[in-house]
Each structure stands twice: as C-alpha cells, then as structure tokens.
C-alpha cells in the first residue's frame, strides 16, 4: 500500500486517509511493475511539488488566497507562487468564491482551456455547496455540479492554514497517481 509522504506531517495525522487508500486500491488492481513504479514516483514527485495555480477569484475567498501568497503565509515555500494568469500555463484552479449562473459557463471554459493533467480545488463554502447563498436564484450550489473536484476546502473564508492542508491533501493524491499506463479518473464525455 503506497503511503505518500509529506514533509514534516506524519501520515497518520491526516484526517481523510480512507478515501486516499480507496483510490490507491482502485488504481493498483492490476499491479504495477517495479521499474514503471519508480519512474511514476519521480514524475509524481515533480508534479506534486510544482502546482501552478490559475489566478481565479470571484469574491471574499480570493482575498485569503492573496494573503496566502503574501509574506506571512508564503506559498512560495511550497513552490506554488508562480500563479499564471493564462489558463494554458496553469495546473490547478482554486475556485475561490461564489459561482453564479452567469459565471458558470466562463469557469467551464477556463477549465477546458487548461492542459492535462489538471486539478480543481473548491475553496470556501460557496464553491463547495453554495454556502450562505444556497437559496439564491442565481448561485450554483457547489462547483462540482459541472467540474470534477479533487479537494474541498470548507470555511467562510478558510484560514490560510486550511488552504495549506487542502493543498497538501492534493499533493498526497497526486503522489499516488499512476502516470505511465493507467487511467486515474474517468471523465464524462460531456
């Protein structure tokens, strides 16, 4: 059973190990060769330590994202500070803020423009499920209605430490993926 290592936090201290182990079991049903596994490890190490987020923020959670890049919390320590403005050069999209019906097609288009392999993190109550605006007529109740979400970070807004926890969970998820010879996630042909 592959146990991805994150620097300075032991494996047992993460709260959601069950879903990670489920993913590992599904991916490794057919076994993995030693050589291919070693190359996979190196490639996944590279990919997980170099997420370039897309600058996308609609409302309040965007300010906490900016605070994450600022001097006190400094996401550059992880290597994530290269926030690209063009979706063609970004790896992950942190959906910070409420997504409204008018913004949903724009977000889907941005997601489609990103090159594979790409990941989506839903940040804040509004992106997870609609948040305080669940009953509104113009708010999409959760961005997972039209995007495949990898990590959910709840909060309104989540603290920068919560952002880091979510990013580290994404790092663990990337570290158990198969790069050569395997399909990590089935996407609908929508």
């Amino acid at each position: 059973m592959k146990k991805p290592e994150i620097k300075s936090i032991p494996y047992e201290e993460f709260t959601d190990n069950e879903s990670l182990e489920k993913i590992v079991r599904e991916l490794n049903q057919n076994g993995a060769g030693v050589f291919v596994g070693a190359i996979d490890d190196i490639i996944n190490w590279g990919r997980s330590n170099s997420f370039w987020p897309l600058t996308f923020a609609t409302s309040c959670c965007g300010i906490e994202f900016m605070a994450l890049g600022a001097a006190r919390y400094d996401m550059a320590r992880f290597g994530f500070e290269v926030a690209r403005a063009s979706p063609r050069q970004a790896d992950i999209i942190l959906v910070c803020g409420t997504i409204t019906n008018k913004m949903a097609p724009v977000l889907k288009r941005l997601y489609d423009q990103m090159p594979d392999p790409k990941y989506v993190i839903a940040v804040g109550g509004c992106a997870v499920s609609g948040g305080p605006f669940k009953k509104s007529y113009h708010v999409v109740n959760g961005v997972d209605q039209f995007l495949p979400v990898d990590v959910y970070i709840p909060g309104c807004p989540p603290r920068p430490e919560a952002f880091y926890y979510g990013l580290m969970q994404l790092q663990r998820k990337v570290k158990v993926e198969k790069f050569l010879g395997g399909v990590n996630r089935k996407e609908d042909q929508a």
Binding site: G46, N49, S50, V82, S86, D91, P115
Partner: protein, 358 residues
C-alpha cells in the same frame, strides 16, 4: 591564468589521430553542442532559482524551502512537471508559425550565448567581428516573438507581440550605440582581444565618463531588450493575461520561460565582458603583488561573479520599480536614450583621438 586552449588542442589532436579530419570535426561539433545545451540548461536553472530566492528576500518572505534543502530541487520539480504537460494545439492557429516560434527564440538565444568568452581559451565562436555578429544574432529573437503573437490567432497575444516587437526593435538602437561607443575605445571587435586588452584595467575605468554613461545606457536598454523589469509591459500579467505567450503550454512555454532568463544572463555577460573585463582579474597598474594574487583566482570564477553581480542588479531593479506604459517606454528611448547615446559617442571619439583616456 590557465589557458584552456591547451586542453582543447589536446582533445583535437586525440580525435585527429584516431579518425579522419572531417569526422573529427563532426565529433567536436557534437561535443560542443552538447556542452552548450548543458551549460544553457544549468544556467537557466541557477538563474530561475536565484530569481525566486532573491525576489523572496526582497519581499520579506522565504521563497522555495520545502523541496530539497533550501529549495534547491524546486526547479527540477518544475521541469519534470513541464515535461509531462499536454501540449495543446489550437484549432484556428497558424500551425507552422505557432510551432516554430519558440524554437526561433531559443536558437537566437543559444547562438548569442556561444559568442561569450568564459575563460582564457574557452570561447566557442571567436571571429574578428564578434561584437557585430553578436548584435545581429540577438536581433533574430524578435522574429520568434512576433510569430508567436501572430500565430496564436488571438487578440491578447497579438497586442502583446506588437508592443514587444516595437519595444525590442527600438531598444536595439541604444544597445548598438553604447557598444559602438566602447568599440571606439577598444579598437577591436574580437571578444578574446577585448578581454586581453583589459589586463591593464577594466574599460569602465579606462574610459571614465563616457564609458560610465555607456554602461548605464546599456543596462537600461539591455533590460528592455529582454522584456524584463520596468519594461515588461508586453507580458504584463495584470494587463494582458500573459502577453505573447498566452496560448503556449507545456514545453513550448518552458522554452519561452528559459529563453527569458538566458537572455538576461547574456545581457549581463556582455556587460561584464565589455565594461568590466570578462574573465580578466582586477589589475591595478603598478601594484604587481596585488595583481599576482588576483591572477590566482581562475578566469571563469571572475566571469561568473561579475555576471551574477550584474544579474542581481537587474533583478533588484525589476522588483522595485513599477512598469512603464508603452508610449512612455518608446518616448524614453527615442527622446532621451538615443540623443544621449549619440552625444556620448562623440565625446568618446574626442577622448580617443586626443588620448585623454587611461
């Protein structure tokens, strides 16, 4: 000072003794090509790491620390990731121009890089018109940028490429004028001779006032040539998304990214070769003991130290100043830098003619 030409001649004789001349030269070309590519990649990695750490320290934070000790392996992770990204081909782009643009930029950068002498005897291209060749080769890079903007078939890259093209072509004039001023002082255009002539003192001291003015103009114009610093409007993130390389992903984007940092290195390397002595140690005429101590330190250490100091200076400028608007950039060039450069040239000519230099 260790003369690397001894080493290269021995390798040449070794190859000639075991195979025909043509084949030996072919093997040498391949070896030199591999050497250039490795140097290029290594320097790019060092420069990007340096930029991230330096800018972090200016901005009261730490920069990459988690990936490897002090974040040294961060760039390797970035490179692995860029290798494994999908290269998106656009439906309505001009396929050939879109695909060839990053290669033009990289090739122009590599050719310029091979002109620079790193140590005594360690030059790759050394003609008697070295400076002229260098200026010509570095100008071909702008073609790649314009093709990238045009071939992407999208409005933002087009605006970015047009701005960038106008800016680079304008500032080549200032670069040329400041180097021409120094050529008047040096009397030669061959790089190895330029460095040899500085054994009695670097040209920035020999040429005093006009050389200093030429140095400042060269740094400003060189900064603008590489689309960095206060002149990065064409790729300004907060205005045009990402300028001319908006539509590139994966390795194609990596080429543009690396070429930008290498161009910075090349501008700094030329500044340190022509103005600060290249691989020549600091010699003060008359102090022989001091000169002997300076000679102990090998040439490439001097070269890289000087270049990285100039690189640090350019990074410092970038992370402090806001950016100029395109009409301000062009008016700075045409209304201020070119007239000052021309007057400076005349003053240098007068100084050389009347022997008023050191």
């Amino acid at each position: 000072m260790f003369d690397f030409s001894i080493l290269t001649n021995r390798v040449h004789e070794l190859l000639i003794s075991s195979m025909s001349e043509g084949l030996a030269i072919f093997v040498e070309c391949i070896l030199v090509g591999v050497f250039i590519l490795i140097m290029y990649a290594l320097l790019a990695l060092i420069l990007i790491y340096m930029e991230r750490k330096v800018c972090a320290f200016f901005q009261l934070r730490l920069g990459p620390t988690r990936v490897g000790k002090w974040g040294l392996l961060q760039l390797f992770a970035d490179l692995i990731k860029l290798f494994t990204k999908e290269i998106i081909s656009l439906k309505s782009s001009d396929k050939f121009l879109y695909g060839v643009a990053p290669f033009i930029v990289i090739v122009a950068s590599i050719v310029t890089f091979s002109c620079i002498p790193i140590s005594k005897g360690l030059e790759i291209l050394d003609f008697n018109v070295g400076v002229f060749f260098l200026l010509a080769a570095s100008s071909t890079g702008v073609v790649g940028i314009l093709l990238a903007g045009w071939g992407s078939n999208s409005k933002f890259p087009l605006i970015g490429a047009m701005r960038s093209g106008a800016q680079i072509i304008s500032y080549e004039l200032s670069v040329g004028l400041s180097i021409l001023t120094m050529v008047v002082l040096m009397g030669t255009m061959q790089f190895s001779e330029i460095v040899e002539l500085q054994s009695t003192g670097w040209f920035i001291f020999k040429g005093h006032l006009p050389a200093l003015v030429a140095f400042v103009i060269y740094l400003i114009a060189g900064n603008a040539e590489t689309n960095r610093g206060p002149f990065d409007l064409p790729e300004a993130e907060s205005e045009l998304t990402a300028g001319y390389h908006t539509e590139y992903s994966g390795m194609h984007f990596a080429f543009f990214y690396l070429a930008e940092y290498l161009n910075l290195f090349i501008v700094a390397a030329i500044a340190s070769t022509i103005f600060l002595g290249g691989w020549m140690p600091l010699h003060i005429p008359g102090l022989d003991g001091f000169n002997a101590i300076m000679d102990y330190i090998p040439g490439f250490v001097w070269f890289f130290t000087k270049t990285f100091v100039v690189v640090f200076l350019l990074m410092w400028i970038r992370w402090t100043f806001p950016r100029l608007r395109i009409d301000q950039i062009l008016s700075l060039e045409w209304k201020y830098l070119v007239p000052i450069g021309l007057v400076n040239l005349i003053i240098m000519v007068l100084i050389v003619v009347f022997g008023l230099h050191f």
